[in-house]
């Protein structure tokens, strides 16, 4: 006796050519029962919940973790003219950063990743601000704050220190304030 899994009694005959080329058993469509489908959705729900909880836990751990970064000398500062910039890496070679010497001679350093989608920002001399070429965001060169565009928060600030005429990077402060929030 054949178990009838399908609830359709009037199954159309496969008369078209494409139906003959790709035949299938109608009853096999009902191999997944409603209960199995519900269980699958339940597992999916559990996985999504675990994912959200995991991301939140990871973020909470990262927030508590205070890493002391080693000091690193920034090479090439002596030739940096006012209203110009210099790229360097800090704290690792993969963390690109930008040092800016503003028109008044002050130095400021920031992580180079735009806080919107991580495009590298550059110093626009004409406007004396940091600009992101991807989605037209801009940051204040003196503070790292968002001037306009889609970035949700200021650039990560890199703490610098003058030692014997050289500039050293001594720490990195992730920004956390929301624009308008």
């Amino acid at each position: 006796m054949t178990k009838n899994l399908s609830d359709e009694t009037d199954v159309r005959a496969a008369t078209e050519p494409f139906q003959a080329e790709f035949p299938y058993e109608r009853d096999e469509e009902a191999q997944v029962t409603r209960r199995e489908f519900c269980n699958f959705l339940g597992l999916t729900s559990a996985a999504l919940f675990a994912g959200a909880a995991g991301f939140a836990a990871k973020a909470a751990l990262d927030e508590r973790e205070s890493v002391s970064l080693p000091a690193a000398r920034i090479d090439g500062v002596e030739s940096l003219a006012p209203n110009s910039s210099l790229n360097f890496s800090y704290p690792t070679e993969r963390d690109s950063a930008i040092l800016i010497r503003t028109a008044d001679g002050a130095y400021h350093a920031y992580g180079q990743k735009c806080t919107h989608l991580s495009c590298p920002v550059y110093y626009a001399r004409d406007h004396q601000r940091l600009e992101c070429p991807c989605h037209e965001g801009a940051f204040n060169a003196a503070t790292g704050d968002v001037l306009y565009g889609p970035p949700p928060r200021p650039l990560d600030a890199i703490e610098i220190e003058m030692r014997d005429g050289q500039i050293w990077a001594i720490g990195r402060t992730p920004s956390s304030s929301e624009v308008g929030g």
């Binding site: 409603r34 519900c38 269980n39 959705l41 339940g42 999916t44 729900s45 559990a46 999504l48 919940f49 994912g51 959200a52 909880a53 991301f55 939140a56 990871k58 973020a59 909470a60 927030e63 806080t115 949700p152 928060r153 992730p174 920004s175 956390s176 929301e178 929030g181």
Partner: protein
């Protein structure tokens, strides 16, 4: 209903990732709680939901499946 809850949870997960990467910590807990509530609702539906055709009516009559 379960599919709709899954879609809502997917949206919550996207918002959680966005908040975590943006370091917007205050909203993380409400997002995780919301996802947990969705999960509990899903479990409740799976555990207690039965097809209408299998339920007994108030008179004790069991409906025949169509």
């Amino acid at each position: 209903m379960l599919v709709m809850i899954n879609i809502a949870q997917l949206w919550i997960l996207a918002a959680t990732v966005d908040a975590a990467l943006g370091r917007h910590y205050p909203v993380l807990v409400p997002l995780v709680v919301a996802s947990g509530v969705c999960f509990i609702i899903t479990l409740s539906i799976i555990k207690w939901w039965r097809p209408t055709s299998r339920r007994k009516t108030s008179t004790g009559y069991v409906r025949d499946p169509r």
